[in-house]
Symmetry: none
Amino acid sequence: RIMRPDDANIAGNVHGGTILKMIEEAGAIISTRHCNSQAGEPCVAALARVERTDFLSPMYIGEVANVSAEITYTSRHSVEVQVNVMSENILTGAKKVTNKATLWYVPLSLKNVNKVLEVPPIQYARKEQEDEGKKRYEEQKLDRLETKQRNGDVILPVINPEPHTVGYSQSSLIHLVGPSDCTLLGFVHGGVTMKLMDEVAGIVAARHCKTNIVTASVDAINFHEKIKKGCVITVSGRMTFTSNKSMEIEVFVDADPFVDEPRERYRAVSAFFTYVSLSKEGKPLPIPQLLTETEDEKRRFEEGKGRYLQTKAKRQAQMQQAAQ
Amino acid sequence: RIMRPDDANIAGNVHGGTILKMIEEAGAIISTRHCNSQAGEPCVAALARVERTDFLSPMYIGEVANVSAEITYTSRHSVEVQVNVMSENILTGAKKVTNKATLWYVPLSLKNVNKVLEVPPIQYARKEQEDEGKKRYEEQKLDRLETKQRNGDVILPVINPEPHTVGYSQSSLIHLVGPSDCTLLGFVHGGVTMKLMDEVAGIVAARHCKTNIVTASVDAINFHEKIKKGCVITVSGRMTFTSNKSMEIEVFVDADPFVDEPRERYRAVSAFFTYVSLSKEGKPLPIPQLLTETEDEKRRFEEGKGRYLQTKAKRQAQMQQAAQ
Amino acid sequence: RIMRPDDANIAGNVHGGTILKMIEEAGAIISTRHCNSQAGEPCVAALARVERTDFLSPMYIGEVANVSAEITYTSRHSVEVQVNVMSENILTGAKKVTNKATLWYVPLSLKNVNKVLEVPPIQYARKEQEDEGKKRYEEQKLDRLETKQRNGDVILPVINPEPHTVGYSQSSLIHLVGPSDCTLLGFVHGGVTMKLMDEVAGIVAARHCKTNIVTASVDAINFHEKIKKGCVITVSGRMTFTSNKSMEIEVFVDADPFVDEPRERYRAVSAFFTYVSLSKEGKPLPIPQLLTETEDEKRRFEEGKGRYLQTKAKRQAQMQQAAQ
């Protein structure tokens, strides 16, 4: 579809969140279709996890987004989908790869939302494809268990914070989950959640460096718990790390099912977004260093630095491999 | 894309206007891409006309709409696009043709919006394809000139109307044209206009028969004049004819460019929509007869009857042809 | 959240209606949460009334709206909420108070929508807070009864009106109430109604003075009757009074529950909006005087003048008090 003014920031760059939402919709369609391809209980595929994804080049208002999706692996209860996004300038004909993402879906019964159904297996062209898929499946499973544990943290408000401190840029928004946000099962689409997360992360980034900012990448996101229609969700973001040219922002999503069932507020999702700051000519600008004050902030900065160095090392290894 | 609650009426049927909007977006993308495929002035394709289209089967919330578009003819200054819409139930896998539409676009220069550019010619597989296309082109050109003349009519308000009269169900809405409604040139997308027209026609139909109504077909629509961002548009509808099982509603779109340039309000578009009324089981219900009071209303009723009988005869001829 | 192009007019000023909608959403969340904070029947808080509110400074595209809400009084069956809106320019860090609003909510049972539940009492820091709240409660109750009576009026159409007459700028729109407009109970959010009211009032104001106009204030709005999903609502506005620098517009909302239950159309809400006209530099422009023709128009003009002078006197008294 054509990108509209509302899909973009004031500099005309399409929000990373808009792209994440399109990716997730494509993933949900192809995996729901696949899981219903054999006779059996009807089901809806629910997003369980998105692997780390990089935004390779910005998309602009007026460009057309071409989204294609393919199922690349199936385990007994989950589906791996590879989604590619190309931006096309229909005036010049220029096409660019904007994004490649890997998503994991789980089929939930339409009759009983707590029942996970079996996934029809796909055929692999070569045995190695299946083995590689299985390896990716095991890795993501492990990572999902780990993140579930670090999820207890909350974002406390700070009064009269200094510029460039964590408290200065931290932000949160609340959103009442309406019918258009939800699947047939009455739960929020993963893509809707990711779009809100990107919105908050973008506000944190802009508050910190006061320039035009764009999403550079999103770390793996795990969807631990479903969010029901009628919930209020609180999306909070705080900066954890800055390098010379990038900022890392941690985003939490908490759900408050306050009407139907007087259940406690719970942590539904969390993730790390990386942003860069761009000049009017689209060149990366230096980022003011994040000032850490508390012990926790210093620890999170070091952890962020670890993730940053790891990603950088991985990218260099890939480039060397590609160059050989 | 997946159909959401907001795309549909309370019975779950997707609005005809939502489908028309998707069709037009696909048409605008393919024809803008084609018109920019050769070196030259960049341009945006503007909708000039939509041929009569039937809604063959209703689409429901949760189904996926597959839209495909193809260029079938090019004249020197216009492009004919054929768009097909299929609805797919991703739970059962069932697919149905929902709609086939033919649209005509004209390339307008991005630098000078009043300049119509030349269209790169397409290659035809067979000579007959070109000849048939040329015939369709000449026919629509003639029809556009004709409708331009009957456009002077306005909808006058009626005080305390009786049920089932024209005045009882006639309706109008105003809409302030915002950025999301517009193309890169700052003019309203044809699809946005058609969606609003369907909304008004649907309200007229529902007010007349007070049941669940769905769009059955739309007559050829000609877009005589562009509508600029910031205009207020008034979309008005009145019932012109009822048969036993269908209602015909005439819809006008008037644009009021009140802020920028104090130009007079002008008629931008007009068209006839046909609706049917459905029971809870999806069966067509009888329609209360329209009570005509004035001479003009009686004349329009007869004209509507003429269109109805003509369409019916054409359909029967097609069915006989198909049966041979 | 960040203000987008669709939230604003073509001059970049955020619509008053967008702000009213955010205010109401915050109020609905905090009061629904409060009313469900004790064991008992689950409920949804429905908007009963918004006190008069001034738009203190305009908000622009790209700014972030910070909305905060606090419960300031509870009676047996109603909750008073104070909502503050700040606009923040995240590039410069500048913050401004945009709006302060007071809203009254009533808890309706999720099981039986016609049952009003009891509100858990709040604790007051000081006894005077409770007394002042009680006084505000009594005052608004009286005012609600009064406005219920003057609600019988309708807006009659005028043919070929002269510029600057009441008939020239009066406008109305129809809207089919969709799922996204509604609460869990299937009734229209008060904020959605207010946004449509502001849209119509803005079109009336723009038609009258043909310049860039912005909402300056909204009189107390009472929500007498709920509006159900599937209704068609007609929102009509007419100018009642002009001073040198402001226009007062009366807006009515009528609901037509035509599908489900063939009940008569009824008046759901009415209110007065005040607009000013701004030059390109953001300075107030003089307003062309409203030409009144009928006796009713002249009477309404005088009533509007009364409200205008009363508000002006109140404001001067407050400023003198503040200066002491």
